[in-house]
């Protein structure tokens, strides 16, 4: 039977990793992800997993070690956050370009400067185009479920791509929630035995990893990478179907909430979606047709599917927990705008930047945004397309 527990997001991710039982993990501590690896090394020290740890001296080496271990041939995972991800940046591209199915939990946190250890999406957004798969998680249950599914997706023989599972720092990583754990043997069977592809440790077939590729071939490798990204959504849905069988929980490319008949809607990632849903319920009770879309597979972004889900609305606000300095809009907004670009009928889009560096996102913020959207839907007039909310003048 599934176990119902009250745990933090980090604890849930660590439990998923224990159940998956990877061959190697290479990791470095950083708030608020530290707790995942602390708990996991506890499993290692007590013989609960077969995993060999590499307790490296930096995140750059953490990902370098993961790359070496993954190329050697075996299941590999790590976890990081914020500055740690930033320090890994070079290696993120090498992991994906080398097509290594490394799984990484990313506990989303703001980037310096100024230094801030709290939840926002600047880290994950900065790494969104590095060729990894990104699965975003609203709560601890999502984070746990996504972690287990990430191994199946990353290691799929049609893909062989690294995947990161994003969850909000502190808000999810450190808050206790009620969640359900799947039985160990079901998880073990679900992820299955690791399948090798050109492992370095195969002495009978010596391979060279990491060649210099000149202009005569570089574009072919890039095109091949771009093409494999287009297969990810299908694999994510297939894996979700199998996952439903062991968990009873449904996952898609994104979640829609009361969106089918909605006239106004919010698009929001991760934990703030929960707060937003409550406020949407309140607006529905007032007779206002509000709905929500929460992306799950953020990279590769399912543009067509998201566009189709949103095109019938009159006004949509995309809420970004990160800004893209120098760009007109936040990163999520730009993806939503792109997804609607080819639609003939489309809603008016506005963008709000919220919750940076752990600033609270409160029901009244969602309420004000929905009020504004209702006004836009009625008059077609937009006061401002992009602004920060919850910030002092």
């Amino acid at each position: 039977m599934a176990r119902v527990v009250a745990v933090t997001g980090n604890e849930a991710v660590a439990e998923a990793l224990r159940q998956v039982n990877p061959d190697v993990s290479s990791a470095y501590p950083i708030t608020p992800a530290t707790d995942i690896m602390q708990r996991f090394t506890g499993f290692v020290s007590n013989g609960k997993v077969k995993t060999e740890m590499i307790l490296v001296e930096s995140e750059h080496s953490a990902m370098s070690g993961c790359i070496g271990a993954s190329a050697a041939g075996g299941r590999v995972m790590t976890a990081t956050s914020s500055q740690g991800l930033a320090l890994m940046w070079e290696e993120l591209f090498i992991a994906s370009g080398t097509r290594l199915p490394i799984v990484m939990a990313l506990v989303n946190r703001a980037l310096s400067a100024p230094l801030n250890i709290h939840g926002d999406h600047s880290d994950g957004m900065g790494a969104r185009d590095c060729g990894w798969i990104q699965l975003w998680s609203e709560n601890a249950q999502d984070a746990y479920d996504n972690t287990i599914q990430a191994f199946r997706i990353a290691e799929h023989m049609d893909l062989r791509l690294p995947a990161m599972v994003c969850l909000d720092g502190f808000i999810i990583s450190h808050s206790i929630e009620r969640i359900e754990y799947i039985e160990d043997d079901k998880v073990k069977n679900f992820v299955g035995e690791f399948k090798n592809l050109n492992p370095l440790l195969d002495l009978e077939h010596p391979v060279s990893y990491g060649p210099l590729i000149l202009p005569d071939y570089y574009m072919e490798y890039r095109k091949a990478h771009a093409e494999v990204m287009s297969k990810v959504a299908g694999v994510v849905l297939d894996v979700a179907k199998d996952f439903e069988k062991i968990s009873g929980r449904k996952y898609g490319l994104f979640e829609t909430y009361r969106l089918d008949d909605a006239e106004i809607g919010l698009v929001i990632l991760n934990s703030a979606a929960g707060t937003s849903k409550d406020v949407i319920d309140a607006f529905r009770e007032k007779g206002i047709k509000a709905g929500l879309l929460k992306p799950r597979l953020y990279r590769p972004f399912p543009y067509e599917e998201v566009g189709n889900a949103l095109k019938h609305l009159k006004a949509v606000c995309v809420l970004d927990r990160a800004d893209a300095f120098g760009a007109s809009y936040g990163p999520l907004f730009m993806d939503i705008a792109s997804s609607l670009y080819t639609c003939k009928e489309k809603p008016v889009l506005i963008n709000k930047i919220y919750g940076l560096g752990g600033r609270d996102y409160l029901p009244e913020h969602a309420g004000l945004v929905l009020d504004e959207l209702a006004g836009i839907a009625k008059t077609g007039k937009v006061k401002t397309f992009k602004e920060y909310i919850g910030v002092r003048e």
């Binding site: 080398t98 097509r99 290594l100 050109n198 391979v207 990893y209 071939y217 093409e227």
Partner: protein, 97 residues
């Protein structure tokens, strides 16, 4: 050689054929070529161990000549050759003469 298209490149740019660099002949880089004078050779094998291009042929522990497919003509072998009684067993000659 026909270049492969994107559908045919190996995922992750892994080279799966060990030692395939042998297909790349570097002998054309050579401006001068080593000449082996067997009579002066004491079979010390310094030329073999010091050759950066693995272009000294050795059979059964004996130097048998050069592999000009790969020899870049650096001249280390000639400089290091002790020869016999002051006479070098390897001398460099201008390529193409």
């Amino acid at each position: 050689m026909k270049l492969k298209g994107w559908k045919d490149v190996i995922p992750g740019a892994v080279c799966t054929e060990a030692g395939s660099a042998l297909k790349f002949k570097t002998g054309s880089w050579r401006a001068s070529r080593p000449k082996w004078i067997e009579d002066n050779c004491i079979q010390c094998l310094f030329c073999w161990i010091y050759c950066p291009d693995m272009a000294v042929n050795v059979k059964d522990g004996k130097m048998t000549g050069f592999n000009y497919d790969y020899c870049k003509g650096c001249g280390i072998c000639a400089l290091e050759c002790p020869g016999k009684k002051g006479n070098k067993a390897i001398v460099m000659e201008e390529e193409g003469k």
